[in-house]
Symmetry: C2
Subunit: 112 residues, 2 copies
Amino acid sequence: MKPAAHEREQAVFSALADPTRRAVLRSIASGEASTATELAARLPVSRQAVQKHLALLEQAQLVGGERVGRETRFAATPAPLGDAIAWMTAVGERWEDRLAALAEAADPEAGR
Amino acid sequence: MKPAAHEREQAVFSALADPTRRAVLRSIASGEASTATELAARLPVSRQAVQKHLALLEQAQLVGGERVGRETRFAATPAPLGDAIAWMTAVGERWEDRLAALAEAADPEAGR
DNA sequence: AAGTTGTGCAACCGGTCGGTTGCATGTTGC
DNA sequence: GCAACATGCAACCGACCGGTTGCACAACTT
């Protein structure tokens, strides 16, 4: 298997792009609901729509589903969020570095 | 203007959803390129495609463009990334809280 | 056993997205 | 002034996405 990092990254970011999906994830993370039908009751979409969102979230490894009896209970596995955060902070740091370098180059003497 | 928070949130997350757009943002943040034509040269897409991505990134306030002579130079303004990170950490914390509560509730009985 | 509740899967549909081509405009350099 | 380079804008297109409906099946309940 090839997790490939940027593949998971892609999965996470695109999973987070949809507002409904974010709502689903939030509901699961806060324990307000754990099954597709429960989530659908809290959201203005059908159960099948929620189910598709859950499939994507699961593919991004943001949630994990476990079948208990006749219902499938989902739980959050927010580890991938860490990857996304890492990407963002990396970009942010690069930006800061760049800014610092520019500032230093433009202001070598009068620096702090 | 009224940013409405969740509107900016939406803009940021959907802006980050596209790999090409992330590449553009990374290139700008690291100072590798700053104009649409430069970016297009580094990427396998046309200049106009990059330009559209830049428009979205600018709309999400992740970059800012300033016209200098005949070229438009873009710079990163990663502040919105902080919002996104805040959202993620909030979800992550809620998850941890929930997990802690469950663990605590399950601890005395330890059954499953 | 029969009915009820929850799930999984497939097909379909309209809208949006990422990308392209084409053209018009503005800026620089000779 | 004119050629070359960079940008802005619009139209168009194929693909994907979010959502729906419909149906078949598994699992409790009585």
